[in-house]
Subunit: 163 residues, 2 copies
Amino acid sequence: MRHTISVLVENEFGVLARVAGLFSGRGFNIDSLSVAETQDPTVSLMTIVTRGDDQIIEQIIKQLHKLVNVLKVTDLQEGEYINRELILAKVNATEQTKPEILRLVDIFRGKIVDVSPKTYTIEITGGEEKIRALLDLLRPLGVKEFVRTGKVAMPRGLQGAPA
Amino acid sequence: MRHTISVLVENEFGVLARVAGLFSGRGFNIDSLSVAETQDPTVSLMTIVTRGDDQIIEQIIKQLHKLVNVLKVTDLQEGEYINRELILAKVNATEQTKPEILRLVDIFRGKIVDVSPKTYTIEITGGEEKIRALLDLLRPLGVKEFVRTGKVAMPRGLQGAPA
């Protein structure tokens, strides 16, 4: 089962290595992870997407709580949060592919962020399904470079969460 | 000095912990890191933003090259790449703040992605300067929750890079 876990941490050396080590030590791959400062520059928020048995994830969450520098751990439940990620894709732009790239950018409410004689670089944001659909559509056009941020997530509405 | 480093890795247990450990072992904080699968699900691309002395960064890059499972390391030079990140911010929405939030979303070409009786959740993407400017403008309105993906980057135009 897919899990999205938010971990609020103090910005100290080695926190990321210890958190990542907790997962790998138990043989769990991290599908994606993003970590960056919050509004308070002494505190960072990690968003981790992983797959695994519920019980073992529960254990990992308990162990995360015990780590020094970990302030808060939230296991975000499917459907109750907004999730988004950002991708940049550099696509082959030929006379044949240009109209289709522009249509996709329009449909997916994306942006063209760089142009060269032979490429368009596009920026698109969305949830998991949307990004997957887009990638399936872009692939036949020839994607030369591709980078994604991994998912970030936030509870809907008034529910509490890492600030 | 600020450095943005792309690291292409094989998806094996513990790669992230080892990469993060290289930085923390030398007393370098990671300002942001994002890692997610590429188009090839056996390979992931990390984007790491760090600050530090050029010579020591050079050493770290050499050591990254030596790690098992590391396929490619690119030190992206200022000005020669596109960089973007995504933020989600849940802002207090009162009769007083709503018009200003909507104006900011419009100016920054963002989106409102969730609404509750007392909050608007907005999604905005941009480079470092834009995100910093936005945060300065949002703060006085009352930001209840905030998450950012950390920067992802891609060389401009036809220059090569991790695919």
